[in-house]
Structure formats: C-alpha cells, structure tokens
Amino acid sequence: MSEATSTITVHERSASTTGLDTLKLGMWLFLATEVMLFSAMIAGFMDMRGRSPADAHHVLNIPLTAVNTFILICSSLTVALSVASIEQGNQKRLRNFLLLTFLFGGTFLGIQIFEYRHLITGGELAPWSSLFGAGFFAVTGLHGFHVFIGLIWCILTIIKATRGRFSAQNFEQVEIFGLYWHFVDVVWIILFTLIYLL
C-alpha cells in the first residue's frame, strides 16, 4: 500500500510472530470491512427492490451489462496474470498485463457511466425517481467508486512497475492490489446477479 523505503519508517519490519504476512493480513481485514459495507448496501437495495414493482429492473440494459461484466472478469484474469508474471520476474509482462487491467477496468467504468447517462437523461431511472432507482444508483455507484479507486491504484502500480520496483522476490504490493481488484470484481458478479438477472 505504501512505499517501504520512506525515511520515517525507522523501525525494521520485524518478522511476523504468527507467520502471516503483515501487509496481507491487514488487507484481508480491510476486505472484511468492505464485505460488511457492501452487505449493508445490498440489504438496503434488496429492501428497496422488495418495495418496488416486480418489473422495475426492465429499464436496465442487460445484454450491455453482461458484456461489461465479461470485460471486468477479463480484468481479473489479467491482474492474476500480472502477479504470475512478476512471480517469474518478468517485468515487461507485468507491465503489459497491468496496462490491460487498466484498460478493461476503464472500459467497465466508461460503460457504466454511459449507462447512467442513458438512464438518467432518458428519464428511465434516477436516484430520485423510484425506490428501485435509489437502491440501484447507491449500490452500483459505490461499486463504481471502488473501480475508480482501483484504477488510480492500478496507475500507481504501473508507475512503480515501470520504474522496476518489483521483482520475483518483491512483488507483495502487486498481490495486494490484485486482492483488491479481485474483490471488486466478485462484488460486481454478486451485484449483476441481484440487480440485473433476478
């Protein structure tokens, strides 16, 4: 998450008492908080959905979002491949797969914004127009925000990769980024199922 070479981190990073990696343990705990956050939001969405007409989600463009979901799943694949690349010390492949991840993620977000625009300006769905709209925009908006943060993180990781900060022995930060990215993807698959398919 942060550079280990800062001037103020004077105490040596001591070996972990449990054997668990300190940064990864922290990240997993952070993801646990994210699970609870999305659970709360999904509970709110499901409540609103239960109070909406049964066909409330018919305004959504399911084929387009299915393609978008596929694109996001592809980005999970590329992030996994980027970790596999640096594990073998291949800097170039790491960089390329991270770039692909950024492209896929950026496309996903772009399509989501396009969908938002279409829904709101077309007068079909808005946060203020219906309970379903309120739940839809709150929960997909929070997810989109997470993708946005992931894209920024991805750029920072690409910059570090370009500067050769990672190696076959030192790629923990790529893994941590990957954990986050996979989490955001998994959340989307749940959201896609609950919002669009059911």
Partner: protein
C-alpha cells in the same frame, strides 16, 4: 537505525520529545496515543459543557435557558461527541499507547495508517461542530428518519462527520488486530497476553465487522438527503426501519466497542492493586470474544416498540440476556481477584472498584430493558438515559480514568498527586450518582427522554440531576490541574512505580522512542503477583509486599 531520537523535522515525524512533535503527523504510536487522549479529552469537556446546558435547561420545569430546537441540537451533539469523539478515541488512544508496549512491539503494524486514523478525527470533529452551527442535526445520536432525512443541512454535515470518524476507527482497528497478532514479541503466547490486549483485539474485531455497516447506513442517508432518494421516508414508499436495523446492527455492538477496552483496563488495575493474580484469565479473555460474537445478535432489542414482528422480539430478548453471562463471568472473576487481596486504594484502584459497582447497576438495568414487557413500558423514558449513563459513564469513563491514573506515570515519567486524585474520584463518584440515580425514578414514573421540558411532578428528580451534573463539572477541575501541574512538578515516577508485571513497566518512563532494544522475553503468567518476583524491583521489602 535504532538511536533514541526523534526522526524527521517537518510535518512528518516519528517520536515525541518536544511539544511541537505532538502537533504534526507523527508516526510514533506513543505520540499518537497522547494525541488521541488529548483530543478526546477536549471533546469530553465540550460534550460535558453541552450536558451542563441540558441540565441547566431541565433544572426547573418549563426552563427558559434554551429553545426546544437548540435543546435538540445540544443533545444530539452531546451524545455524538461523547460516543464518537470521547469514549471511542480515548480508548483507542490508551490502546495505542499501551498495547504495543504490553506485547513487546516497537510500534503499531502500520505507523502511517495509525497517524492517518488520528488525523481523520479532525475533519470529523470540525464537521460535527459545523453541524451544530448550521442547525438541523436535531434527531439525537441515533438520527432516526424521517426527521433525519428531512432536517436541514446540519444533518448532512453530521453524517459526513461520522463517515470520517468511522474511517478513523476502522483503520485503527485493522492496525490493532495486525499488531496484536504479528508484532507480539515471539516468546509471548496468545494466552500470555495482557487482558487489555485481548479486549482491544475483541473490540477491533467488532469494529471491523460493525462499523462498515454504519458507513453504509450513513451513505444511504447522505444519498437520500443529497440526491432525493427515498430510502427511509414512508411518504416516498421507503422504510424507516431499514435505518434502525442498519444503525443498531452497528450501534449495539458499538456499546461493546465502548466497554470492552474498559474491561481490559480493569483487568490490569485490579491485580496490580490487589497484589494477586487475576482470577480466571482465560475466562476473561474468552468472554470478551463471546461478547464480541453475541453482540451482533441482539441489535433489534432497541426496536421492540418500533413495529417489528412481535414474535421476533422473543429471540432478541433471549440473546440480549445471554450477553449477561460472559459479562457476569468477568464481574465474578474481578471480585475473586480482589478477594482477600492486599488492596491498595490508589485513585486508579478507586476508579477501578467504582467501575465494578457502577457497571453492575448499569448491567442490571440493561437486563431489565432487554425484557420485552418492561422495555415496552420504559422505552424512551429517562430510565434508558439512566441505564446508558451507568454503563457508559459509570463503566467506560470510570475505566478510562482508572487507566489514566495507572499509566500517567508511564506516559509522563511523573506521578500524579494522590490527594487531588482522590478528590477527583469522590467528586466524580458522588456527582455521577446524584445525576443519574434519580433518572431511574423519573423514567419509571414516565418522564420521556429527549424533550426540552417536563411536567412539574418530575421536578425534584431533575433538580437532583442538575445538581449532580454541576458536581461532576467541578470534579474535572482537580483532575485538569493535577494532570497539567504534575507534568513538571510531579514526583519522578521511575520505570515501575506500581511494582507491576507487564512489559510496559520494564521500560523507562516515558519509554524510549523505539521501545524495546531487542524483543523482550516473556515467561509465565502475566499477572503472577505473589507467585514470582516483579522483574526490576530490587527492594527486598517491596518484593515481600509484592
């Protein structure tokens, strides 16, 4: 690398030697701990002044001190400040200072995240004060819709403030868990950890699983207020109970966030001043974990009168009462700890002992309230106000003071004046009981909470309450004087003034910037008073007494 000096000179530093080191982004857990404690104490004073305003208004029926609207703003800010910017950050601060020392770590696992956690409280606090100034945050700390959904701007600022504070708490909790697991000195088994570390671990687990739910609820509230979504307003088809469910899913566990660290502090104080090992170490440790788990299964007991399915009230009543079992385990363990001990009635011990008795009163009225028939009768009366203050002030705040008196010598290197401490304790203890004991009666007689005026028949109880509040306000003065004056004029404490076990007492007072030169080696029971000599205490007489 490991010289004992402050690193960095600008806005980013590690270690505290000069006063200015405490005013910047500092990554030393000890500095951050003090920053937390100082800021929290500031908000304690502010929240206390607001309480004074409330009690001034309520001193007589039909009081004219403030308007009804200002009264609502005042009680909202009082509750929010005391919970989110006094008790929780004060425990976080105490934990930040002491826990790494107790487990033989040189810092927290993520020092910069730790500093960020502290600094997130500043925008949180400023936004809260702004919410008061802007007006609108009148729905109490529970912020029930529809009022909170339709109120003016201040309520949005209030929600934004809690988001900042929530992030602060979450990052702090992640840091504590990783620190306790991974930075513990290798020779210390989990079952040799001081009980405060166990308590902070349990607290942090609750925060990790609970606080994000509050963040989600606040996000929905902000969404409603800013974008016109209708989540919580029945007029738009929304569901006000959704807020109550999400809010209490966090906020009931949050009462354990506010009391478990207190349990931990008491488990340190009692053995030291009883000169006996803690009774039931494992039971106390595991009951903290049990409370953390069960705490998530009781939230709807706040909603017995909110129109929930009547049948569902029964399981929630049962789970709420079950919480009393692990809590009772602790109470009896503490009583067995002091039983036949060589008690030393220091100020810290006095606060510790009063914690037990006051918390038992609050705990018992809690079992009352968990019972559906009684709760339906006294919901939203002053009985609830009395209950929650016995738990949060009689419990949490007493424990905080017990801890402050215990660790002040470690933190500053100086002793507090004992006489002033005793004065502080007795004024607080008497003022507290005078304030809140009568509220039980007013509540049982039907006086509703959160109303700026009341019927004349409740006058006597309210007058007593207001007098007690005045006493509590006075009680802070000897403490403030004592804490500030002793910084320079207090007797030099030395490393271990209480002849206590625990790794923090093996270091100088205050400890060196980087704590332990080498990972300390731990052996035996962390509370082995009377069983083995206290390391570093050479005085023969002291050893015999120990």
């Amino acid at each position: 690398m490991r010289e004992d000096s402050v690193v960095g000179t600008g806005w980013v530093r590690h270690g505290g030697r000069k006063f200015s080191d405490y005013l910047v982004f500092n990554t030393d857990h000890k500095v951050i701990g003090i920053q937390y404690l100082a800021l929290a104490f500031f908000f304690f004073i502010l929240g206390g002044l607001l309480a004074g305003l409330i009690r001034a208004q309520l001193a007589v029926p039909d009081g004219q001190v403030i308007t009804g609207s200002t009264y609502n703003l005042t009680l909202t800010l009082h509750g929010t400040l005391m919970i989110f910017l006094w008790i929780i950050p004060a425990f976080t601060g105490a934990g930040n200072y002491v826990v790494p020392l107790m487990i033989g770590a040189n810092d927290m696992a993520f020092p910069r995240l730790n500093a960020l956690s502290f600094w997130l409280l500043i925008p949180g606090g400023l936004l809260l004060i702004a919410s008061f100034a802007a007006g609108g945050a009148e729905s109490g700390w529970t912020a029930y819709p529809p009022l909170s959904a339709t109120a003016p701007l201040g309520q949005t600022l209030w929600a934004a403030a809690l988001q900042f504070i929530g992030f602060s708490t979450i990052f702090g909790a992640i840091n504590f868990i990783v620190t306790i697991f991974n930075l513990r000195t290798p020779s210390m088994k989990l079952t040799q950890m001081p009980l405060l570390a166990w308590a902070i671990l349990a607290t942090s687990l609750i925060i990790v699983l609970g606080t994000p739910v509050l963040s989600g609820a606040l996000l929905l509230l902000i969404f409603q207020r800013v974008l016109g979504a209708q989540f919580f307003t029945p007029a738009g088809g929304g569901n006000p109970l959704l807020w109550q469910n999400l809010f209490w899913f966090y906020s009931h566990p949050a009462v354990y966030i506010m009391i478990l660290p207190g349990f931990g502090i008491i488990s340190e104080v009692l053995p030291i001043f009883s000169r006996k090992p803690i009774f039931g170490y494992k039971l106390i440790a595991f009951s903290s974990m049990a409370i953390a788990v069960f705490g998530f299964l009781v939230w709807a007991h706040h909603m017995f009168t909110s129109g929930m399915d009547p049948f569902l009230r029964v399981p929630f009543m049962v789970t709420s009462m079950i919480i009393a079992v692990p809590t009772g385990v602790k109470i009896f363990s503490w009583l067995a700890t002091i039983w036949a001990g060589k008690l030393r009635f220091t100020t810290s011990m006095m606060f510790g002992l009063s914690f037990i008795s006051m918390f038992v009163i609050g705990g018992l009225s809690g079992i009352f309230l968990a019972s559906v028939p009684i709760d339906i009768h006294v919901q939203d009366t002053y009985f609830v106000v009395a209950h929650l203050h016995y738990v949060l002030f009689g419990g949490s705040v007493m424990a905080l003071f017990a801890g402050l008196y215990l660790w002040y010598p470690k933190i500053t290197g100086r002793m507090l004046r004992e006489r002033l401490g005793q004065l502080h304790f007795w004024l607080t203890f008497m003022g507290f009981n005078l304030t809140f004991l009568p509220q039980h009666i007013a509540g049982l007689e039907g006086m509703p909470r959160r109303v700026y005026t009341y019927a004349p028949e409740f006058w006597i109880w309210n007058l007593l309450s207001s007098l007690g509040a005045f006493l509590m306000a006075i009680a802070v003065l000897p403490f403030l004087y004592n804490a500030l004056r002793s910084l320079a004029a207090g007797k030099v404490a030395g490393p271990n003034p209480w002849r206590a076990f625990g790794l923090e007492w093996t270091l100088s007072s205050p400890p060196p910037v980087h704590n332990f030169p080498a990972p300390p080696v731990v052996e035996g029971d962390p509370y082995g008073y009377g069983e083995r000599p206290v390391p570093g205490v050479s005085d023969h007489k002291a050893q015999v007494a120990a």
